[in-house]
């Protein structure tokens, strides 16, 4: 069952189309990432779910109920804003209690609920502070607690970790995941950080220019990107193009590149992930796809090295684990080898 169902939703702002016939089902209890570049319409979709934006077309269902006529304050959604949007004149306690006092919950119950939720986000003891007396990570937790305290149907997060530094970000990712598991709430979160989307979510939707590009489990989307955009936005990819010939393509000056994915008629583009390519000596024998080239660049990034190899098909990137510490020198001739399974046919 879907907690939230978006059907054919479009939204235009003058000449820009922020959402273009988007259809998406958010399964109950899922941790769903909306991934896309800046201006792709992620926030607009989230705001449409929250009721701050009215779609021009289409329908939004929450628990199988059309919410077009339900105003934000009755949608029972929790939202965490990119800038947190904490009420500056209220203490942490009052911020978190807001949703409960608005619902006229008795005082004693409010105190207990707020206490519980502050404990869940590990903020107990700070309840009398004002938002500006908190660090970025703490403010983030308050915003999360405030959104969760009313036990909403859906939790919406708009780049919740965008304003945090890398270390804190990783800590909060763990926290977010833990809290989401504990509460079991359907969570939709917007990010343009692909790593965050991969580590946190159990489902990913890739959006570009208001259109839904691909939806699926992180591993599936990563391994089987449908389009060139999806392949390069979620992870890195090398692309090879050419006319289709016996379960593969003929690449100019390189030869036949095999794939196991179904091919269209005419021309096709194949994507290969840099970490799926092995670098071997030129004389090594292989049945797999193979292109020779010369190492032109080497970028060291700690746990791994990225080589740029100039081949007849253009420069290709290869990622190699820094396992034994041996490196290939620049200028050396190498062969790039990968399985036909790892040649993914993508739409341009």
């Amino acid at each position: 069952m879907s907690a939230v169902d978006v059907r054919n939703v479009s939204k235009r702002y003058g000449a820009t189309t922020a959402l273009d016939r988007v259809s998406l089902a958010f399964p109950n209890g899922s941790f769903f990432a909306l991934l896309g570049p800046s201006g792709s319409g992620k926030t607009t979709l989230l705001r449409a779910l929250a009721g701050f934006v009215e779609p021009d077309e289409g329908m939004i269902l929450i628990d199988d109920q059309d919410v077009a006529r339900i105003p934000s304050f009755r949608r029972n959604i929790g939202m965490v804003f990119q800038n947190y949007a904490l009420f500056p004149h209220m203490s942490v306690f009052d911020n978190v209690a807001f949703g409960l006092t608005v619902r006229r919950m008795p005082r004693a119950d409010v105190r207990q609920r707020v206490g519980e939720i502050l404990e869940l986000v590990r903020l107990d003891g700070l309840d009398q502070r004002k938002p500006r007396q908190l660090s970025g990570g703490q403010q983030q937790r308050v915003a999360l607690a405030r959104a969760l305290v009313t036990e909403p149907r859906v939790l919406l997060l708009d780049e919740p970790l965008g304003a945090l530094d890398k270390k804190l970000r990783q800590d909060m990712q763990g926290e977010l995941k833990r809290i989401q598991r504990t509460v079991g709430i359907t969570t939709i979160f917007v990010t343009h950080d692909q790593e965050e989307a991969l580590t946190l979510s159990d489902r990913i939707a890739i959006i570009d220019e208001g259109r839904l590009i691909q939806v699926g489990e992180p591993g599936d989307v990563y391994d089987r990107p449908h389009t060139r955009f999806a392949a390069s936005f979620l992870g890195d990819a090398n692309f090879l193009s050419g006319p289709v010939r016996d379960s593969g393509i003929m690449v100019d000056r390189v030869g036949h590149i095999a794939t196991t994915s179904p091919l269209p008629a005419g021309d096709a583009t194949i994507a290969v992930r840099p970490e799926r390519i092995r670098l071997v000596a030129c004389d090594a024998a292989t049945q797999d796809n193979r292109i020779e080239g010369r190492v032109a660049e080497r970028v060291f990034s700690g746990a791994s090295l990225t080589y740029t190899v100039h081949t007849d098909a253009g420069p290709l990137r290869v990622l190699r684990q820094n396992a034994d510490g041996d490196v290939i020198d620049i200028g050396e001739r190498v062969a790039l080898v990968w399985l036909a399974d790892h040649s993914v046919v993508v739409e341009n």
């Binding site: 934000s72 304050f73 939202m79 804003f81 009420f87 608005v102 004002k130």
Partner: protein, 287 residues
């Protein structure tokens, strides 16, 4: 230590001129007035300077002065309250509902009164409010059977004139406060289940307190000392502490009494501000 003392010098050099300016323009005239208020007689004629408290005593012994002071405070209170009641919704509407060019045009309309001479403005009101004046005719156009509306020389006329003159201050200060409220705060409140009234009462109003306070002070202080609006619009009924003070300087040449009453007025203003400051501090510190 050396850096510390150098810094102090730098601060003294940089802020010194400003303080000097303040001293010359505000402090000197004020202290001259303070000096006169403790003199037995004014600076005219030939008599030796003589210390006296009698002008301060006058305020506490003469009941009518206290009545007039009270009247002025009441007037200040009424004008400020009306300015809040009209100015806050107007500012809210401007800050939250109107966008782009319309806002600029409306702003121009709001500050327009600032560009006209205050006296001209008040005289215009006498024309509007007198019997068979603009207001009278307009009302009779709508409801013909009504008796003549004559607001000449009335308290209502004073209040109308003063509210009209000072309303822009309230609109502008409230506008600045309201403008600064992040839209996402209101959306957050709405997503948490708050309706418009709750959002107004619990988010917008508390965050607009600095603007309301600044506007109130900017209005209340000059209104309780005002004199020509009450005199022109209130006529014989327009006597307030401001007109009395002004007469001491321009008509009866009793500078010491005028000075003493001014300082009592100032003291009352400071007392009111001191009483209000804990409330204000609580709100100001958060924004």
């Amino acid at each position: 230590m050396r850096i510390e003392s150098r810094r102090r010098w730098a601060i003294a050099w940089l802020t010194g001129p400003a303080y000097l300016w303040l001293a010359v323009t505000i402090f000197l005239p004020l202290s001259a007035m303070l000096y006169f208020s403790f003199q037995k007689k004014g600076p005219f004629g030939r008599h030796a300077s003589e210390f006296s408290l009698k002008h301060y005593e006058a305020f506490f012994t003469k009941g009518y002065l206290q009545d007039l002071m009270w009247r002025s405070l009441e007037m200040g209170f009424h004008v400020t309250l009306l300015c809040i009641l009209i100015g806050f919704p107007a500012a809210y509407w401007l800050a939250r509902r109107i966008r782009g060019r319309w806002r600029e045009a409306l702003f121009l309309l709001i500050v327009l009164p600032f560009w006209s001479n205050a006296l001209v403005r008040i005289f215009s009101w006498t024309i509007v409010l007198r019997p068979d004046g603009v207001l009278d005719r307009a009302v009779h156009l709508v409801i013909p059977g009504l008796p003549t509306i004559d607001l000449t020389d009335s308290y209502a006329a004073i209040i109308i004139g003063l509210v009209h003159s000072y309303l822009p201050y309230m609109i502008l200060t409230c506008f600045l406060s309201l403008q600064a409220i992040d839209e996402s705060l209101l959306e957050a409140a709405r997503s948490l289940g708050a309706r418009s009234w709750t959002i107004l009462a619990r988010i917008i109003l508390p965050l607009a307190v600095p603007g309301l306070a600044a506007g109130s002070i900017l209005i209340f202080v000059p209104v309780i000392g005002s004199f020509f609006e009450p005199r022109l619009l209130g006529g014989p009924k327009g006597t307030v502490i401001g007109t009395v003070i002004e007469e001491q300087f321009t008509v009866v040449s009793n500078w010491p009494l005028g000075g003493a009453l001014s300082f009592i007025l100032l003291a009352i203003v400071l007392l009111i501000l001191a009483a209000a400051s804990p409330v204000l501090k609580k709100h100001m510190s958060t924004t």
